[in-house]
Amino acid sequence: MSSLEAAPTPVGNVLFLGQRRVYWRLLARGALLLMVTLGIYRFWLNTDVRRYLWANTEVAGEALEYTGTPLELLLGFLVAVAILIPVYVGFFLAALDLGTVGQMSGVIAFVALGVLGQYAVFRARRYRLTRTIYRGLRFHQSGSAWLYALRASLWWILTVLTLGLAYPFQIASLERYKMRHTFYGDLAGRFEGSGLRLFLRGLPMWVAVIVPIALTIGAFVEVVDWQALAEAAASGGDDVMSKIESGNPEIADVVVFAMLMGGTSVTFAAILYPAYQALMLRWWSSGLRFGTVEMTSKLRTVQVYGAYVRFVWYAILCAIVAAIVGGMGLVAASYLVGGEQTSVGGEIAGTAILLGGYVVIALGFSTVYRATVMLSLWQLGMESLQLSGLSALDAVKASGRASSPVGEGLADALNTGGY
């Protein structure tokens, strides 16, 4: 374990100087306050996290700086809510319509909010970039968020239709659009990662996860007599299962096969996920360019697995504590809720204990994940970078202005936010 826990030696000219202890404390306090304020504290927590990550990341001897404030985020969120209320009211009224509009209102809402979510992703990125200061100059982003939303939506349709095979090309194309419109001062960014390269690297993972599911679907199509199944399901009754079986004698075998294949697929997905994250991070950061500044990532996959091992250790520790405390809570709750003569106050207290326990456990695991895997990915991603052509950084001129935080607010309200 010790070899995995030791901080990796930086290979390039980017350093991460943050102390893990400070980050843990920040996240733990944040989780507690998120719980008691039912989430309102998130604007302050997110800002604290970004300040910590940015300020402790030193690129070529100079640390980044995050100048966003929690009140900006809160304001952006409130504006976003004000924008979304009429949208939601519109969908509600459309759903009341008994005609085609009413029937389609769910689909229309899904599509419209999906596009709006992509719009928000681009605007939120602009907010974060213009709040990022390096050597007294800010980053900024040009380009149209609506055009981005259109591109992203079309790509998503293609990716879904190809069962994910188009995803590498989607990421490459969208990243090219984002980086083409990204500037450090007057130094233009661009993206040189190749979608085909990512496709070839990721293909084995795709095969391992998707093929078992495809085999299952194939088996169902091959074996099941759909007409008999539909009739059995439609007639219903207590003996519906035996009816299904008599109509389809081989169905039991197929169901067992499906469960085995589903298990295989999920297992592969879980085992390969850290490798996938490492692949994506390495490919993405190796494609970033600003003028003559070029980046290469030397991230090793085993390092990401190390972060996950640490996560599992802490998660087990967390689970043991949760089991002990939760056991006591359950006893107290059953005493308060159960029994013949209980008061309403007792019931509320008992429910609050059970609910509080669930929230503490959920938030606890999420905090452990953020403090281990997320922090490590940031640190590893940064420290594995090798920058060349740094002389271009000495003569960049200031450009761009701070942008509005509404994009972040929209992303928050639509749950499409990032860091």
Binding site: L137, L393, D394, A398
Partner: protein, 369 residues
Amino acid sequence: MSMESGKGVFFDGRTSARHDVAVTLGATSLVISDHAGNVLANWPYDELEPLTAPDKVLRIGRHGNPVLERLEIFDPDFARAVDIQAVHIDRTGTIQRRQRGNVIGWTLAATVSLLLVAYFGIPALAERIAPLLPVAIERKLGDAVDMQMRAMLDTGKTGAAFECGKAEGEKAGRAALDKMIHRLEAAAGLPGPLRSTVVRKEDANAFALPGGQIYVFRGLIDKAENADEVAGVIAHEIGHVAHLDGTKAVLQAGGLSFLFGMLLGDFVGGGAVVIAARTVLQSSYTREAETDADTYAAVLMNKAGGNVRALATILARIGGATEPGMKILLDHPETKARVAAIEKFANAKSTTPFLDAKEWAALKRICAG
């Protein structure tokens, strides 16, 4: 040891060039100059602003400066000397802790305020908005809910029509029900007409939708021992129609979705909190509506010359068996309390049964097919 000057790194906010500078602590301001002695910046102490940086660096800017000038000081002793002079720089974190305390206090207050809005504000708002909605909108709302209800109730399992009273042998039962409802409707004096449907479901239940649609389950008619018991339950549902409870419930659900879906609950594990809070709050709203509908039903039964006790009797019969475990999740008040409250309205005045023996027998067979 007091330090009058030290070294620093300066970024002028116009280009990314690094400037190694000499920093001097003047009488009222901090003076930044290059090696040739040219003054690059002169910042008053009370305008110095601390900026985020790694622990080993003191990074400062000038408050409200549109140009992103930055000064970085690496020598800890000199950084301390600057800290002492600058009003707003405090490396011990006291100012930060006080600000954080403020934030925590205000966010907690906001949370409490929003919860109070959920408990008192939303039902009060629904109460006032519901009567303002035009009847056409209420109808439309009712039709939309009705469509979903029909899809849910109509399992299509038994093969028989899901609505009772349509077949030839059921028509007499339907006529008996209409007679009963007309008598209640005449006494109630509602603004719009009622529509009623008996459905082939075994549960002893009935409910009303916005716009005056009432559903009665056959299980209720099966369990009733006389016509006034069925009339009592229908009078209770008419109470919901008269009080616009269906519309209010839709408005309340919308308000809660907004409060808990958009403003609160956006954190890991928050979904469970949102669902629990919504369930408990919605049950508390409907418990009050049920009590009011009971009172309405008792008054209406008296007005129509029916037997108030019949409602109490059937509630006691069907309620006793289906009492779920937790009081805060009950959408109806406890049966014992309801029965006692209804009994108070029973007066000694002689009553006229809603249906005669033949009509009652026909109503019993409304779902016979």
